[in-house]
Point group: C2
Chain length 141, copies 2
């Protein structure tokens, strides 16, 4: 039950490299509360712990891949920082966003089908055109 000490910590340059996010973006995320405040060394320079990196990873995923709204994530982080009393609220927030995401995936899947249909029709049209070129169309010459 002791606090976990882990040996490794990373500079902002390394984190930026590792997660393919610019240093500016990392600082920006922290500034607006999209990730909790990162650990600093005595001269105020960020020193990302394992934990900090996990936040970066999580937030990057939720933003770039899932497209969750920044606002919801800021709220999530704020709740997290308030401690265990907010466990239930945080869970509900995640469920809400999970459901939105599921809806979005469904909508996109429908659109994918629509695109596929359209592409299929293009295929047919093009084949038809080619057939016409090889037969009747030659009469024009």
């Amino acid at each position: 039950m002791g606090k976990m000490v882990n040996g490794m910590s990373m500079s902002i340059a390394e984190v930026s490299e590792k997660f393919d996010l610019s240093q500016d973006t990392l600082r920006y995320y922290e500034r607006i509360g999209l990730i909790p405040p990162v650990n600093r060394n005595k001269s105020g320079i960020r020193s990302y712990t394992e934990e900090d990196c996990k936040w970066v990873d999580f937030i990057k995923c939720m933003r770039q891949s899932a497209g969750l709204p920044v606002e919801a994530l800021i709220e999530y982080v704020a709740l997290f920082r308030q401690g265990d009393d907010t466990l239930e609220t945080r869970k509900e927030l995640l469920i809400e966003q999970r459901n939105r995401l599921a809806d979005k995936i469904e909508e996109m899947t429908k659109t994918l089908t629509r695109l596929d249909d359209k592409i299929e029709r293009y295929e047919q049209t093009i084949v038809k055109k080619e057939k016409m070129l090889r037969t009747g169309a030659n009469r024009a010459f």
Copy 2:
């Protein structure tokens, strides 16, 4: 093989209502070439034909549901307006976007799973807390 005449045409207000897009957005889409120029009456007022509406529907779907980039759609419309010579190019453009969309859906599906796992862990943590409250924690009183 004659040109198709269809009786009905709609005002911008009606189209806006029907597709839940603001009039400004409809004009903006047309302005930037995201839909082909809409028919006008003699005094220059837009009068959306069935065909115009289909474009609106298609573009709305590709933008809002699939999130295809405006640029790609503008190019698609431009190619369409150039006629049948661009059939193949248009098809390829659609396939490219279709594949991007499929990738995105896959990524989002993975993220959905990740969210579900996280929610599941919250569930467990909360249940554990409750159990502790009902047993040992009471010793504090």
